[in-house]
């Protein structure tokens, strides 16, 4: 299954969302791709590695991954290849791992600020948009997600809204709107 595609046009079954698209593998409008419970608030994580470990544990708690240690190592391995810190308090950590059950996005907000993420402007990270990618799901879908996230992060209004909004449902809606 692609990152945002539905196998054989069937929608993920939680009872909500648009009708099915038959006969084709359609890109999901992603109106509910990021759910409210995938928006995590924390304070005082302090360091990038603490934040990534927290994300890995939450991913397992939510059933998105099976092994927090393995997922954490995958996050760190990606950081070693190159910092995923961006600008204006944002980071886009991502991990491709066999422990990831399904392609998903977790949003971590820490208003205190997380140091050591190698951001392009040296500012601490307050919003991490984490991508979890199954081992088998490589290629253009990963690229599409990063492209959409990067495009969103170039929008001053999006960044401001993401930082200002605390309600998980509304944060999820902001991201879903961009991933559509």
């Amino acid at each position: 299954m692609g990152f945002f595609t539905m196998h054989d046009g069937q929608r993920r079954g939680d009872g909500a969302g648009p009708s099915e698209v038959e006969g084709q593998s359609a890109v999901a409008p992603a109106c509910e791709f990021v759910k409210a419970h995938q928006v995590i608030s924390a304070e005082g994580l302090a360091t990038r590695d603490n934040a990534l470990l927290h994300l890995a544990r939450v991913a397992v708690d939510l059933g998105l991954a099976t092994d927090a240690d393995e997922l954490y190592r995958a996050f760190i391995a990606r950081e070693v290849e190159g910092d995923t810190g961006m600008v204006d308090g944002f980071a886009v950590p991502h991990a491709k791992s066999p422990s990831v059950c399904e392609a998903s996005v977790l949003i971590l907000k820490d208003p205190v600020g997380i140091e050591g993420w190698g951001t392009m402007d040296d500012l601490p990270v307050t919003v991490a948009i984490a991508l979890l990618i199954p081992e088998v799901n490589a290629g253009t879908s990963h690229l599409m997600v990063l492209s959409k996230v990067a495009e969103a992060l170039m929008d001053d209004a999006f960044r401001a809204a993401m930082k200002a909004e605390d309600e998980p449902e509304l944060v999820a809606a902001l991201v879903n709107d961009r991933l559509a």
Partner: protein, 87 residues
């Protein structure tokens, strides 16, 4: 202004890592650097803009450099792309 075309060979396209490498390398030059795809033109010194472009593997891009050190910048840009941008 000088320009040259090259094809992206990175299996996962111009994602964060190669985009960052390209942008940081081009950032060392004084000239303007533009990457032209079939769909858009983006600032070659901006990792965010390059990522947002979502350029997939196999895309032929044109790199345009305009300024004092344009020839050197273009040569390095094309070499980077043809060598797989560090991957």
């Amino acid at each position: 202004m000088v320009s040259e075309k090259a094809t992206l060979i990175n299996p996962q396209g111009l994602h964060m890592r190669p985009a960052g490498l390209f942008a940081s390398t081009m950032g060392k030059f004084a000239c303007d650097v533009t990457v032209v795809t079939p769909d858009k033109e983006v600032n070659g010194k901006s990792p965010m803009a390059l990522m947002a472009a979502g350029i997939p593997c196999g895309t032929e891009v044109e790199v345009k450099c305009d300024g004092a050190d344009e020839a050197e910048a273009l040569a390095q840009a094309i070499e980077l792309i043809k060598s797989g941008l560090g991957e």
